[in-house]
């Protein structure tokens, strides 16, 4: 219980700090504050999808149904954070470029990512036998994640995009590129959003386990 309260206070602190403590960015101005919300959501979405792929691989190797439940939960959470990232991205796009959506390669690739995982859920709903559903959706989750590095990391660097690059660390000179105050709030947000993801995952996992126990008790 205590760590959830701490997380709540932490995230509130992050939200307040992003408006009060963090300086406006150079070049992007006040709109740059959205970096505190947009980037962690995108990172956690990719992390959740990665975990869904890992759970799918575990399922295919060990055939324990709990891995399928975990894969589904991770795909759901990944989609939630991906929608948040798309939404905050669209808001930023309106502020910086004047339109909510203009098919910039980054925006296109996040839309495709959402479509991939929507297809994952469509596939799950089309199969009624739980073992076959687990097996086929595990294969699809692995295939789906193979496109993620391509869409998220390669497309924006190959095709010309207006999306700003994140200058966090300059590896060559071993310094932080980002302004100190901004860096602090940003890293705090990453930490908080990760905590949020873990909390949601924990709740969902316990809930799905209870549903499963109830269903098997009834002899389903």
């Amino acid at each position: 219980m205590t760590w959830q309260i701490i997380l709540g206070i932490w995230m509130s602190g992050v939200v307040i700090a992003s408006f009060v403590y963090m300086p406006a960015t150079q070049g992007l101005g006040e709109m740059g504050r959205i970096i505190v919300y947009h980037v962690p959501a995108a990172w956690i979405a990719v992390l959740a999808y990665l975990m869904a792929m890992i759970n799918s691989i575990h399922y295919l190797r060990k055939r324990e149904i709990r891995y399928d439940r975990q894969a589904q939960i991770n795909a759901e959470l990944g989609t939630v954070f991906c929608i948040l990232a798309t939404f905050t991205g669209a808001i930023w796009s309106r502020g910086a470029w004047g339109a909510y959506w203009n098919w910039d390669p980054r925006q296109t690739s996040i839309a495709v990512l959402l479509m991939i995982y929507a297809a994952y859920f469509v596939l799950r709903s089309a199969i009624s036998d739980s073992d076959m559903r687990a097996r086929l959706s595990a294969v699809y989750a692995i295939l789906a994640f193979l496109t993620v590095p391509f869409l998220v990391f390669i497309v924006p660097r190959v095709y010309y995009t207006l999306h700003p690059d994140l200058e966090l660390v300059n590896l060559a000179e071993r310094t932080f590129e980002m302004d100190r105050q901004m860096l602090v709030v940003f890293l705090a947000s990453v930490f908080g959003v990760s905590g949020l993801y873990l909390w949601l995952y924990n709740i969902q996992k316990r809930l799905e386990n209870l549903y499963y126990k109830k269903a098997t008790k009834r002899g389903f």
Partner: protein, 230 residues
């Protein structure tokens, strides 16, 4: 041609020959592909063909070619596995070979199907829309790699869809997001090939198509046995 030093290849080719022979009897899948492609082509050419020219035309034509090929693939490529389920020969095929040669045979069958489609559709496309192809080699390479990529990703998805009961448009829903990187690369490359560009401009896209093919084939070979075997 069948070598026993590559058993997967020789068995895969045997599956390919079986599928080609069955397909040749009725030509059902091929007709489905061809009818869809020609109908779409005629419709668009009728409305748009005579009235546009120049750079807008190459942009639209590039997208159009891949729309036609993609939806034709969705219409026709799932036949390989669905027909096995319908005629009840799945178990016989499972007993006859390991999963990987079966996949190789089905993949090659889809490639052959799609190639025979593109051989007919692409010249018709260029003629009906009055296009002049600036980079012929690049255009041919794009169509070749793109068609192989379509077949590569669609084959394992066809297997998934056939196992899931082949309901409605499940194939399109599953395939579209997975194929989108391929389509984006192919459309971009076709646009450069049709409209011309600085030398080497098409190379990035062609490389991307090539690697997409490699990744799709490798991932499908690894994952197919989990789809095929219970």
């Amino acid at each position: 041609m069948a070598t026993s030093s590559f058993p997967w290849l020789s068995r895969g080719l045997a599956v390919l020959r079986k599928d080609l022979r069955i397909e040749f009897r009725t030509r059902y899948a091929y007709s489905a592909l061809l009818m869809f492609a020609v109908t779409t082509l005629v419709t668009v050419s009728f409305s748009v063909g005579g009235f546009m020219s120049g750079p807008e035309m190459t942009d639209i034509a590039a997208a159009l070619l891949w729309i036609i090929l993609f939806f034709s693939a969705m219409a026709g490529l799932s036949r390989t596995f669905v027909q096995e389920e319908e005629s009840g020969t799945v178990i016989a095929l499972k007993m006859a070979a390991e999963p990987e040669p079966v996949y190789i045979g089905k993949y090659l069958f889809n490639v052959v199907l799609l190639f025979s489609l593109t051989v007919l559709v692409v010249p018709l496309f260029v003629v009906m829309l009055n296009l002049s192809v600036k980079l012929v080699g690049g255009f041919l390479a794009t169509v070749f790699l793109g068609a192989m990529g379509l077949a590569g990703a669609s084959t394992i998805l066809a297997a998934i869809v056939a196992k899931a009961g082949a309901k409605g448009s499940l194939m399109t829903v599953l395939a579209f997001p997975i194929l989108l990187p391929l389509l984006l690369g192919a459309i971009s490359a076709t646009r450069t090939a049709l409209g011309g560009g600085p030398p080497g401009a098409i190379n990035t896209d062609l490389l991307m198509l090539f690697f997409y093919n490699g990744v799709a084939l490798a991932a499908s070979l690894l994952l197919f046995e989990y789809v095929w075997n219970e």
